[in-house]
């Protein structure tokens, strides 16, 4: 007894061909999906390898930066305002024996200076000078730490608190850092993006996006690297 007893030969042939086509399609689809997955896996591995490569390269080169003098422009985007809040001034950074010093000297549209020397913050607003110890504010301490480590590139080794993606674009590295969920910074920042110059491994642009979607963008220009900065320039007068 065979199938031919129940089905005409022509119908059987058609059914067999139909089944073979379905099988081929499914097999082909499975193969295609597998290929896509394999390609994606390869791409992710390459990206991870690239990221690791650049993390190492940035870390090696930013260690050589001991001081930065530059101009900066700061843009604050608030979603409910049609115009951004723009300010600017001069920026100083220097590594010292105990850590680092930073000075943000705003010159427009207001005059304001903030000096960070180790754990001490000093602010001058007009004639009023005030200081406090950064360790009294954990969040402020972490934000400042992020700023410094972003500027000197050491943040790229902080895999405990951030996930990274790094892409090369001409003479720039486009770096995106996303705070790990559950960390204090994750409650404040959605992401931090840097554009780094691969010529001197300094930061051209730093964009910090808050959880609300509002962001602050800092752009550094007229940079002078490893020049002499007199200690008197780190005073708030």
């Amino acid at each position: 007894m065979s199938l031919l007893n129940f089905f005409p030969e022509s119908d059987l042939k058609k059914t067999f061909i139909f089944i073979m086509l379905i099988f081929s399609f499914c097999f082909g689809e499975t193969v295609q999906t597998a290929e896509v997955k394999q390609n994606a896996n390869v791409a992710f591995k390459e990206l991870a390898a690239d990221t690791a490569k650049w993390q190492k390269t940035v870390s090696e080169n930013t260690k050589k930066i001991n001081s930065i003098r530059s101009s900066f422009k700061q843009v604050k985007n608030l979603s409910f305002l049609s115009q951004q809040v723009t300010s600017g001034g001069k920026f100083l950074f220097e590594k010292n024996g105990t850590g680092h010093r930073l000075k943000w000297q705003y010159t427009s549209p207001f005059v304001y200076t903030i000096l960070i020397d180790g754990q001490k913050i000093t602010m001058k607003d007009g004639n009023k000078v005030s200081s406090f110890d950064m360790s009294s504010s954990r969040v402020f301490e972490e934000i400042n730490d992020i700023m410094v480590r972003s500027l000197n590139g050491t943040i790229l080794s902080d895999s405990r608190n951030f996930t990274f993606s790094i892409k090369e674009s001409g003479r720039s590295l486009m770096i995106e850092m996303v705070p790990v969920k559950g960390t204090p910074l994750n409650e404040y920042f959605k992401s931090i993006k840097m554009v780094m110059d691969t010529g001197d491994f300094t930061v051209n642009t730093l964009t910090m996006t808050e959880s609300s979607g509002d962001f602050t963008e800092l752009t550094f220009t007229d940079k002078s690297i490893n020049g002499h900065i007199d200690i008197s320039e780190f005073r708030v007068e």
Binding site: K76, F80, D125, R138, P184
Partner: protein, 202 residues
């Protein structure tokens, strides 16, 4: 003969009975958006930053207080006298701080007070009019208005004439704009003083 003693909320003023609060020219009444430099003194501590204020088409207000370096201290929305704060910086995220800022900034933009029934007073020596509006717990919110221009000059809260604990003073440039050029907010009981000076006005 019995005589009644009426406590007045002002010196050298005369009561004129109950009346609906009328502020001819309220602060921010013609403002689209404004940016202020802010300085805050709390006891011996000093802070500064920027306050962005925007008046929406429906009369509500949106505000953000940020540090000069761009860090958000809080966002606030005030609708009909009710303030809601969001995205509050961790160090400020305490109930007493939040309640103080909510009350201060909703009063600052004179939200939700129009038409309230208050006691009206006039002054003998000036053209000012005072509306003393009862609040809870024997506190009154007092609005000092220039009769001729209709401009609100000052707001204060007090239990009694000698027990003022909160005030806001507005200063204008004199160009007709109702965006205050200068504002001070003073809390007498907690040694808190905030000063605002306008940077941009649109």
């Amino acid at each position: 003969m019995l005589s009644s003693c009426v406590t007045l909320p002002c010196t050298d003023c005369s009561p004129e009975g109950a009346s609906a609060l009328e502020i001819g020219k309220a602060p921010f009444s013609d403002t689209a958006s404004a940016l202020y430099r802010v300085s805050i003194k709390l006891y011996s501590m000093y802070f500064s930053g920027l306050l962005a204020v925007k008046k929406e088409e429906n009369g509500s207000f949106r505000m953000s207080l940020i540090s000069e370096t761009g860090f958000k201290l809080f966002d606030m929305e005030v609708i009909n006298g009710v303030a809601e704060m969001k995205n509050v910086f961790a160090e400020l995220d305490r109930p007493e701080v939040i309640e103080t800022f909510k009350e201060d900034f909703s009063t600052l933009v004179i939200s939700g007070v129009s038409g309230r029934i208050c006691n009206r007073y006039t002054y003998k020596a000036s053209d000012d009019i005072l509306f003393a509006c009862p609040e809870k717990n024997e506190i009154s919110s007092n609005f000092l208005i220039d009769r001729k221009s209709g401009i609100l000059k000052r707001v204060w809260k007090a239990e009694d004439i000698d027990e003022q604990y909160f005030e806001i003073n507005y200063g204008y440039k004199g160009d007709g704009s109702m965006t205050p050029a200068f504002i001070t907010i003073i809390h007498s009981n907690v040694k808190l003083r905030m000063e605002f000076s306008v940077l941009e006005n649109k």
